[in-house]
Amino acid sequence: MSATLDAAEPFSHPALFYRGAEEYLAGTVPFVEEGLRAGQPVAVAVPGPRLELLRAELGASAGSVRLIDMTVAGRNPGRIIPGVLRAFADSHRDADHVRIIGEPIWAGRSATEYPACAQHEALINLAFTGRPVTILCPYDAIELDPRVLEDAALTHPTVIDNAKSTVSTAYDPGSVIQAYNVPLPRPGPDARHHVILDFDVDNLVQARQVAADIAVRAGLGTAAVGDLEIAVNELAANSVRHGGGRGTLEVWVDTALVCQISDAGRLTDPLAGREPVGLSGNGGRGLLMVNHIADLLRTHTGPDGTTIQARFSL
């Protein structure tokens, strides 16, 4: 994708590099207040402490803003587009313009989560092209790795730094989607309960049960075990339907309970699993469900096949 900006493009996606609370508020509060003055729907989805900072500064206007703790709603980066951004924008389709502050990357994001975060930021551009929406993404320029800020310049057409907005000449979201399409982490030396099961249509039930059995042994609660069964079932069913009819399930426990499904298929739609489900739509519904319930979904896809890892916190 080129770095040229189409003046007629109604979607806008600036990154805001901030250093400290004062710059955070200076970069976000006017954005919210301008929106409210223009009668535009405004949502703020940022980590809890930042949310409180903004709530206090906004005072009475905070009541007119949809406030969302991104560490909960956006724990899995793969559900931020359908569950947070589009959920809000789509519920205000009549508005002239919708404003959202979305902070999906914070210092506590792990190295395992980060590739999915960067891909999410890149995919926002594809998901919102043509929509009258502005998504402002704050980046903590003190705490975050310099590489994260370099990626932000690739995934955002404009960057606001030191109160100055500039066109990002580096803008190239496609390169970020590709750069983080990498082999997924293998079980570490401390991994427990590592099992492998080959499945096809005749033992889909077993795949789900094997994963549930390990989840119970790892101490997950009833609701989490239920979610994990749903996730493994959806991913394995996708392999049966779209991934060559068969696949391999691996389950292990390290810092999380990990369910990995690999098959011979290839994911060609980068937004698969991130479009809100239409009442009649079919494509990506299973993957969307998994995005909503897993704590992290990572994918690696290419000519040799597709591997997907769903992680559930212990």
């Binding site: 506590g108 792990s110 982490p185 079980p187 030396p189 401390d190 099992v195 249509v201 489900v277 909503h292």
Partner: protein
């Protein structure tokens, strides 16, 4: 990702697992879905599992019921599991009913409730009864 864990930033850098994984033998068990009519009202009593294997059965049964244009009652108390494709079939059936008519899901399994809540919470004419 903070500046401090830059070293760990790349994916598959871990060593081999300490204990080798256990390869589990395949256990063949194709799920079935048995649908029987419910005497005295328009609906079905279902037993088994709603999955990629049984979705077509569900769809054809529902299609003929929905044509009758009245409320549809589904007794799901003997259904142990449903996937999102199965729930989508129910949602599509509900959409084809005339205005004011509902699909009633009676005692659905936990998986069906969860999928309804997450993906289809705004379908007005599906009524869930536990």
């Amino acid at each position: 990702m903070s500046s401090s864990d830059r070293r760990a930033a790349d994916g598959p850098a871990h060593g081999a697992a300490a204990t080798p994984p256990v390869r589990i033998p395949r256990h063949v068990h194709r799920p079935v879905l048995i649908c029987s009519p419910t005497p005295g009202r328009v609906g079905l009593r279902m037993e088994g599992e709603i999955s990629v294997v049984t979705r077509d059965t569900l769809e054809s049964q529902l299609t003929s019921l929905v044509r009758r244009g009245t409320d549809v009652h589904l007794d799901l108390s003997k259904v142990v599991f449903s996937d999102s494709g199965g729930v989508a079939v129910l949602v599509n059936a509900a959409r084809r009913l005339p205005a004011g008519k509902n699909v009633h899901l009676e005692h659905p399994p936990a998986s069906m409730r969860r999928i309804m809540d997450v993906l289809y919470s705004r379908v007005p004419n599906i009524k869930v009864q536990s």
